[in-house]
Symmetry: C2
């Protein structure tokens, strides 16, 4: 009666590794992914590597050109703007749904994370701050109880992550962000979905502005 543990296939492992390399900037935008080089580097044959290429192409992280190979996609400012427009709408939806569906326990956990984030802020712990921040948004997304929404959001968000690493860990808009998060919490507690939605949309807008304001490397 043992649950069928699904063995991880080489393809997904390679895809994960490549994704990481792209997001962390180890594979720079525009560069061509040479199959021979990567097979030697990752110690796999061309078959799982090429299958991983298809996966990453689906995520829009790379572009495939017939007979010419795979290239890391570059994020133009226009792309970033478009991504944030969509992410804003999705995050807004997540907030609205979460306000209607979140449980008391989930809300308590978010409240706890919020204070943890403020603590990190107080001691100028940037990584800690980012981790809490991300967690809070992830929890709101989870509380929306819509896996399609979560998956769609994450798929688009990955592309932004590549930027995060480039814009030298963008000095965050500490104070404004904290204030917005305070407001988010009150609206969640008040179950005011509409207002939360609006707030989250502008929250994303501000995020975009601060990201685009910093010199992209």
């Amino acid at each position: 009666m043992n649950a069928p543990i699904d063995r991880q296939t080489l393809t997904v492992g390679v895809a994960a590794r490549l994704r990481e390399m792209i997001v962390e900037g180890q594979l720079q935008p525009g560069v061509r992914l040479n199959e021979r080089v990567l097979t030697e580097q990752l110690l796999v044959s061309r078959t799982p590597l090429r299958e991983a290429f298809k996966v990453l192409a689906g995520e829009q992280l790379i572009e495939l050109q017939a007979d010419r190979g795979a290239f890391v996609k570059s994020l133009e400012p226009a792309d970033v703007a478009q991504l944030f427009e969509v992410l804003g709408a999705l995050e807004g939806l997540a907030g609205e749904l979460a306000a209607a569906r979140i449980t008391a326990a989930e809300l308590a956990e978010i409240r706890a994370l919020h204070f943890e984030m403020k603590a990190a802020h107080a001691r100028r712990d940037l990584p800690g701050y980012f981790r809490c921040n991300m967690q809070i948004h992830a929890r709101i997304n989870a509380a929306a109880r819509n896996t399609v929404l979560t998956a769609t959001f994450n798929a688009l968000n990955v592309r932004i992550h590549a930027l995060r690493f480039k814009s030298n860990a963008a000095k965050p808009r500490w104070d404004e962000a904290i204030a917005e998060h305070e407001a988010m919490l009150s609206l969640l507690e008040a179950r005011d979905g509409k207002a939360l939605r609006t707030l989250l949309e502008s929250h994303l807008d501000h995020k975009r502005e601060s990201l685009l304001a910093t010199p992209i490397k």
Copy 2:
């Protein structure tokens, strides 16, 4: 000086064919995609077939299980509800952006399509009606000038299409839909993005209701 015409690779051809077969219900939800059978049927080797599997898995049309094969995903009512929640937000965003960015020419074309749709409605031409309807929504999406939005929307919409074929060409909510489309046009002309957004969100909601109301096959 000839433009570099990009040869279509077998993988994308196979992926397109399989996508079609799934959406048209030729490959029913839940069935396993046997590689040998499909290679014989499509006259390609396993390599491009398996690469196509990865593409379709990225689109959530199939599910891959290690050492067990590929299965056509089934759309549970819960999935449909979630999809429509997200599609509503995306379509709303498209409307809001379109209201701000649409050109007079684009608006004129949509107006023309609207009358064409009414004509199809008048002569009870269901396929024509659907075609115009789809075109109108596609044009609004295009007018939003956000390729990320368009791509995201289409990716999710494909999954719904599989349903369309099953719910025996769901008798449309002719009259309500037409009325809503009339309102859409006026709001577009008035450049009232906020209102258009709200309208489109409820428009999608109604679509979902009529789709879920019909006995799924």
